[in-house]
């Protein structure tokens, strides 16, 4: 695989991410994971949706697609089903994947189609001005929750697991090596894989909720993170405010594009028998 930096940022593109944003760390981790695996860049379809992190596909040097808001998964499904040889990876945000795109998310998990979904979860809508998200914690402030959020947030990993994803993991932008490892395993998994990365938005979330700048936010992510193993020993109220990191699901189940290839064979055999 070619130069990692070049794959993550085509030189002609202007980058718009704020200083201290977690998006670059996540995009870098994705490209590093793919590089480590020795993937052929010509066989990677890199798709992103709308929002700050949605710009990622424009930055990369793969076949790339920047879809309408929340719609990364349907085109990815069309790509995977017509080119099963392509490695289809998505980088999306929390709003993009589980608010406006929530329906596609659960159905892709149900189908177990071989797509890797990396979610940059910064618990807020950054680009549009710091609005509340379905991942914002109760009590947090946002421009559309000026008196504090009262809606219970999604646990994206549990949502993915219950909908049928066959690889599900959570990491943070502080735990970069762990994140790279999870993304690699997600891409290797033949099925629908979700890696949720808790990320920092110092410009919107950090400022509004008085957590501080990017460094303070990374410390905050580090302090809140607890491994799945250690979390098992704790009671639910002791896990309040914690980020449980680790691999939640890693199993084998029939994958859609492979099952479809078998369906084509069955249909062809039936057609041939009919024509005999």
């Amino acid at each position: 695989m070619a130069n990692i930096a070049r794959l993550a940022c085509r030189p002609s593109v202007k980058r718009i991410w704020c200083a201290g944003c977690g998006n670059g760390t996540i995009l870098g981790a994705m490209v590093r994971a793919m590089h480590k695996m020795g993937l052929d860049p010509d066989r990677v379809a890199f798709i992103s949706g709308v929002g700050c992190v949605g710009r990622a596909s424009n930055y990369t040097d793969f076949d790339s697609m920047h879809t309408p808001h929340g719609r990364t998964i349907p085109p990815a499904t069309g790509i995977k089903m017509s080119r099963p040889d392509m490695q289809v990876v998505i980088l999306t945000g929390d709003g993009d994947s589980v608010a406006i795109g929530g329906n596609h998310f659960i159905h892709a998990a149900r189908r177990n189609i071989d797509i890797t979904l990396v979610i940059a979860n910064n618990m807020i809508y950054g680009m549009t001005g710091g609005q509340v998200a379905p991942t914002t914690e109760i009590g947090d402030l946002a421009t559309t929750a000026p008196y504090g959020n009262i809606e219970r947030p999604f646990d994206i990993c549990r949502l993915a697991e219950s909908a049928g994803a066959t690889y599900v993991a959570r990491s943070t932008t502080y735990h970069v090596l762990q994140m790279i490892q999870y993304i690699e395993r997600a891409i290797r998994n033949k099925g629908f894989s979700v890696v949720e990365v808790m990320s920092q938005c110092p410009t919107q979330y950090g400022r509004m909720n008085r957590i501080g700048d990017a460094v303070e936010m990374l410390k905050w992510l580090k302090e809140r993170a607890i491994s799945i193993e250690r979390a098992k020993a704790l009671a639910p109220d002791q896990l309040q405010g914690k980020i449980v990191t680790g691999e939640f699901v890693n199993l084998e189940r029939p994958e859609l594009s492979e099952e479809y290839a078998k369906l084509i064979e069955r249909a062809r055999n039936r057609e041939n028998q009919r024509n005999l």
Binding site: K14, A45, D63, P68, P74, P75, T77, R83
Partner: protein, 381 residues
Amino acid sequence: MKSSEKKVVFIQGNEACAEGAIAAGVRFFAGYPITPSSEIAHTMARRLPPLGGVFMQMEDEIGSLGAVIGASISGTKAMTATSASGFTLMQEFLGYASAVEIPCLIVDIQRAGPMGGMATRPSQGDVMQARWGTHGDHPVIALAISSAAEMFNLTIRGVNLSERFRVPVILLSDEVIGHLREKIELPDPEEIQLVHRKRAQGPREKFEPLDAPEDGVPPMACFGDGYRASGYTSMIRNQLGDPSGDPKIQDFLMRRLHNKVYKHLDEILSWEEFHLEDAEIAILAYGSPFRSAVRAMKTAREKGIKVGIWKAITIWPFPDQPVRALAAKVSKIIVPEMNLGQLFYEVERCACGRAEVFPLQRVDGNPITAQEILKKIEEVR
């Protein structure tokens, strides 16, 4: 080829559409169940797998057109079919396909509406939705269909136009035609002309995804072609496919997208004329009302009234020039439509006083009858 060698089949309109799509090289279909379009999905679900093609029933119509776009970006001819609110849900991705230049075919079997309306009854209520349903200025091509044979032939033409111009093409049919069974003559597969999108050529380093030749249609780098295609962004983008905030680039892109369609009307517009040579009254019909117009014309002529028919096939872009010419030739134009006046105003705009234009509208979910058209002819003569 001798006509005796041609294959004659008795077929439903929706089935003919699916067969036309297969003949046109469509190998990917994604859809969501909705009456009265579902038989297209049923036929594709059965027919595509033995051909190595893919049928997907998606979670909704948004996902359906999204999957179609993904397949098309990967180099596969792809389509969907829907109706009513399903077509509305597709408007977001229809805009994307138009802006990002993705060839695809969307079949809308119009039913009486709005919303649930009457699912098994026809209408032509989506004429303006086809043109302006998605946001922003955008080019689109829409063809109106009036027979099972056209369901076959115009599906092929629609796929060809989408490949030629890298635009979404909409087939506007209706419940009458979708569920009509009639005898059609299938063309010899070898006689069918197929168009394939221009693909990117030459070294990757020199490839610029939005660099369009004179005809305004850039060659397409499909996923997996080795070009690491970068132009598939919904943002305004420059020649390299990079997002741009430059008003000049925005203006250039908007006009190129528009012009690639509007400067090729000779390739896009099609219509048929019947007995217009001596006609004083023209019926400008499209879709299933055309069938009633034929009967009305014959009866009127038996009564000595000089009536002809101008059948619109391409309705978007609207055939301004040909309709102006029609208005200069006849003194009156009747526009029968199963809506409360959608194409009527376009006809009136082009007639611009040269001919009087009369609407004939029906929105009770019943087809417009020959008797109604005849009555209108006698009323306006």
